[in-house]
């Protein structure tokens, strides 16, 4: 049995991870700024990254649906397998729901999202201040939920690898050949 994800799955995983690690602090930082061209630029970059994440996650789901992930090592407890499935499922839901909520918020606040300043996304909702504020709250809550789940996700991987001493990180790691567990 393979003990690694396929290379496209690995590349997409890390690409999305890096983009989330840029977009999240950017979002936290930019919304406190006083209005300036810099702020407007950061908002645009944040939105462009968000749209990109949404599309890449769509690609990941399509890949996942057509490729079987490597099975978890034998020593992992049943409850952890269940927890892992739930967290992975929620991560996918959030990685789609967060850009979606941002896009809708942007429309409700009266600013169309134009991907890379070139590709306009349709406004699915009309400009509406209350809805905009509501969606801002939703966007933020979903993001902090994501933060908690990402911490769990990373902690679990590190725990399996370093504490349980299972060969775990190479499942999603770089490198051509699957390492044989010791």
């Amino acid at each position: 049995m393979p003990d690694r994800y396929t290379p496209p799955a690995i590349v997409l995983h890390w690409l999305v991870a890096v983009l989330i690690f840029v977009a999240f602090p950017l979002g936290v930082y930019m919304h406190e700024l006083p209005l300036s061209p810099w702020k407007l630029q950061l908002y645009s970059y944040h939105k462009w990254i968000g749209v990109t994440i949404f599309l890449l996650v769509g690609l990941r789901l399509a890949w996942r649906a057509t490729h079987v992930p490597p099975p978890l090592p034998d020593g992992i407890a049943a409850w952890q397998r269940r927890a892992s499935a739930i967290v992975h499922g929620l991560l996918y839901v959030l990685m789609l729901a967060i850009p979606l909520s941002g896009w809708l918020m942007s429309s409700a606040k009266g600013f169309q999202t134009v991907w890379f300043g070139i590709v306009p996304l349709p406004d699915l909702v009309e400009k509406n201040r209350e809805l905009g504020d509501l969606l801002a709250g939703v966007h933020q809550a979903l993001n902090f939920t994501l933060l908690v789940l990402v911490i769990l996700h990373v902690a679990a991987a590190l725990q399996h690898h370093f504490i349980e001493r299972q060969p775990f990180l190479q499942r999603m790691g770089p490198g051509g050949k699957a390492k044989v567990s010791a």
């Binding site: 209005l35 300036s36 061209p37 810099w38 407007l40 630029q41 908002y43 645009s44 606040k109 009266g110 600013f111 169309q112 999202t113 134009v114 300043g117 070139i118």
Partner: protein, 184 residues
């Protein structure tokens, strides 16, 4: 004789109808809006309060005149954050220049109810000549005068300093208006 007097009456009615001069602006049915691009994103805004005077007789368009005074405090710049920013020194510097004014100097008929109005727009202490196309649409209760034109915000020092970078906020601003008026 009867036919003649009816004919005269008809002529009289026709000539008075033709001689309607539009002089009373209806503020509630009038609007002044604008649109600009910010990081490639179209942003709409407008002004809620303005006072406009005009006199327009379709029979004597060259004698027409119009002026408008816009209360810059009534701006909707797309968001409350932008509304506040717009009042500042770098934008409209509203405490020093609370109003924008336009006064026509000449009107020329282009045919098909279309006109060209020349005039001076004064904004933030700077005056510029403008040529504004106007479409006259006669209506049952009120006529409307519609038009739109593009101005360059930097011609008027709107958005100075860090905002002078037109890559973030475009220099071109499309202004569109509808002035509704009744006549006597």
């Amino acid at each position: 004789m009867k036919a003649l007097s009816l004919g005269l009456l008809a002529l009289f009615v026709a000539s008075t109808a033709h001689a309607v001069e539009y002089t009373t602006v209806l503020p509630k049915q009038s609007r002044v809006d604008f649109e600009f691009r910010q990081m490639g994103v179209p942003v709409k805004g407008g002004f809620k309060r303005f006072v406009s005077q005009m006199a327009f007789d379709p029979a004597k368009p060259e004698a027409a005149r119009a002026q408008i005074e816009i209360d810059l405090a009534s701006i909707d710049a797309g968001s409350s954050e932008a509304d506040e920013e717009a009042a500042g020194k770098l934008w409209f510097n509203r405490s020093a220049y609370p109003k924008a004014t336009f006064a026509s100097s000449a009107v020329r008929a282009l045919g098909n109810d279309r006109y060209e109005m020349r005039g001076t727009l004064t904004l933030k202490g700077r005056s510029r000549e403008l040529v504004v196309p106007v479409h006259f649409v006669p209506g049952k209760t009120a006529a409307t005068f519609d038009g739109s034109f593009v101005l360059k915000r930097l011609d008027f020092g709107i958005g100075e300093g860090m905002w002078a970078d037109v890559a973030t906020v475009a220099n071109e601003v499309r202004v569109s208006f509808r002035i509704a008026a009744t006549g006597k």
